[in-house]
Symmetry: C2
Subunit: 406 residues, 2 copies
């Protein structure tokens, strides 16, 4: 159990001893904002701005030659290699490509022929896209698709199919034991595709050590890669030669500029590249990674969990219903609370400069990005929440007005 | 037949009368460069820079709220609506999403159940990705995939399957008669997916009038959207309700923020959205379109063809083998010449500030983007080519050095 600061003074002490404290200076954050939505869209690291400016200058100056001169041609691979070190994988096992949705589809289609049975499994409380993609692939391929009750993945591995499973649940923040699932998958001839969207950049992921072989994830949450930044694919080195992507685009070809009608996949995970990647967005992601590189992932995870523990303790002191696991080791980087009047409460927090997010019908999520948040800021945010609830200051008309998206 | 300028003076006269002459000022082009590679990567319009800067400011300032406050949430749709007017389609029939590769896959998978036979056809001289994607989809879905001899699409329509066909061939620049193909497709119960990558932004496309119902295309060529800018999907309004995407991501859901496990597609082409789009790249594209909007597409096509006619006439005068159709109405925006020493010739041109591209083994392509090129510039480029060939100045060691990508 992580000891959370119990007073504002203790929070300040933790900040003074925080080995990641200097990382906040690498971000462009507006004054007066405590940003607890890094689990949805990370704020811009300065490196993202710099790399994007460089890519624009390359486009304007060297034009199409920049594919060579600025090495755009292998930017997706090079960025993937850097991502590999953030998830416990090796260079050549990760490439940046497409969206999480498309990548889950590619991996699931490639995995089905390798599993003992031609069937797909997804828990019904997974991020909906994961379910839709399984259904879409089932319709096209004839694979059986079965929706599982929450937590049903481990049992489902016995069927020997392909399971799509989040490492951290998007709503509850519950963490899955990757190693235990992979041991069972191996016994059963099943394959697991890990959705790392809510795990990368906040957990100390050790995919290789845990036996994981397939994963996809997004880069715009705790990796701060920018809105809709391209996603990534992980395939363990020993598995990739056996896999065929269903979306063989020219960027995944061994010799893309031979313009040969016969598809010869590239070695390693690079075969899961498809069309031309969005270089401007990819350049921003590439620069954003500078804000996390060099950080000890154990310290990263410990700080995220300590900030979460602070929030959990304060929420319990307010008598709130904590939807996320209170046991720190079972919780990812965000904490979800059930607050009946969650929508206006989140607006009232925003009016005080504290940004959180609301998920209908009654879930308020706080994301604890450990790179730019301080203990003091989280302490103050929870104190603001307590005041808003106690004074019922959320109950004002302007806090009930609905925006299109929250 | 378009009358091409026959002298430098005539080229200058054409520039003086060019209704698109003022468009060049909307681009950031380096001094001293004649850019004849707009068919590969368009140069940056100033609008792209401005919209990208605005998106970055939104990211930094309003953070995740920008999905609402900056309307990122419907940027792919709004940009699609603007693209619709450039291809002869209606708002609601075009959306920006993913890459051409992924979009061809989505459309082909959705079209197969609607065609008379469950089979896919691609000509073997199509852009290779189109062939790979057909093969990938065939492997997954069980659809028969047949490669056709060049020009074999029209015949193949009799089989009643799904044909993937470029409106302009990437290598030869040969234009396909969309209306004639669609009439035959309708008779035969076949469906055609048009790859508009080399056609959009340079031809006066009239998809609705020609009876086209399905298309995809890229935006980084004649639309100047930026390197790897996201692609687009076109589905005719009457057809979209019948189609199911095989890649149902959350952005294509009727209520994406309900996070419902059941997939309910959005109306119209928007169901072909999948994951979160790369907003920074999409913002650049959105701004880039300002450089073409308001242009008469008939004038756009006429200028591109006149510039091409100039190049064809000069090439013929040099005794070069013209691979592209010399009949103007059969030719898209680029002109391909066969030059045995094409690689060093292209390097020698570059040394004189004329950028063209080389495709192994012996094809030199010149792209005639009508928005920023002048008749005079193209005249001078062809004069430079003649001098290089006549003087054999290409035969110097520095022009033979190979870059990784050309």
């Amino acid at each position: 159990m992580i000891k959370a600061p119990n007073t504002r003074a203790e929070a300040l002490q933790r900040d003074a001893a925080d080995p990641l404290a200097d990382r906040a200076a690498l971000f462009d954050l507006p004054d007066g904002v405590t940003y607890l939505v890094g689990h949805s869209l990370g704020p811009p690291p300065k490196g993202a701005r710099d790399r994007l400016a460089a890519a624009q200058a390359d486009w304007a100056g060297d034009l199409v030659r920049s594919w060579n001169s600025a090495s755009w041609i292998d930017l997706a691979e090079r960025t993937g290699d850097r991502l590999a070190s953030l998830i416990g994988a090796q260079p050549g096992e990760v490439i940046v490509a497409d969206s999480v949705s498309v990548n889950l589809f590619k991996l699931a289609a490639a995995a089905l022929p390798q599993a003992r049975t031609y069937a797909l499994f997804v828990e019904e409380d997974e991020f909906p896209t994961d379910q839709y993609i399984a259904a879409g692939l089932g319709g096209l391929s004839g694979a059986e698709v079965r929706l599982l009750a929450p937590g049903g993945s481990f049992e489902a591995l016995r069927a020997g199919g392909v399971v799509i499973k989040s490492a951290v649940n998007y709503r509850s923040s519950e963490v899955t034991d990757i190693a235990a699932h992979e041991r069972e998958a191996r016994r059963q001839g099943a394959l697991i595709i890990w959705d790392l969207s809510h795990a990368t950049g906040v957990l100390n992921l050790k995919l290789a050590a845990d036996g994981a072989v397939l994963a996809a994830g997004c880069t715009y949450k705790y990796l701060n890669g920018g809105p809709g930044a391209p996603a990534f694919v992980f395939v363990a080195g020993e598995l990739s030669p056996k896999l065929a992507t269903p979306l063989p685009g020219w960027m995944g070809h061994a010799a893309p500029f031979a313009f040969d009608g016969k598809y010869v996949p590239r070695d390693g995970v690079a075969r899961f590249a498809s069309g031309t990647p969005p270089i401007l967005s990819l350049a921003a992601l590439s620069g954003a990674l500078e804000a996390i590189e060099g950080v000890d992932l154990g310290q990263l995870q410990a700080k995220a969990r300590a900030l979460g523990a602070l929030a959990v303790a304060r929420a319990q002191a307010m008598g709130l219903d904590v939807l996320s696991p209170v046991e720190d080791g079972r919780r990812g980087g965000h904490v979800s609370l059930r607050i009946a009047e969650g929508y206006p409460v989140v607006q009232a927090l925003a009016a005080r400069g504290v940004m959180a997010d609301f998920r209908a019908p009654d879930t308020v999520r706080f994301g604890f990005s450990p790179l730019f948040l301080s203990y003091q800021a989280v302490w103050n945010a929870m104190a603001a929440l307590a005041e808003i609830l106690e004074s019922r200051s959320w109950d004002q008309p302007q806090f009930h007005a609905r925006a299109k998206v929250t």
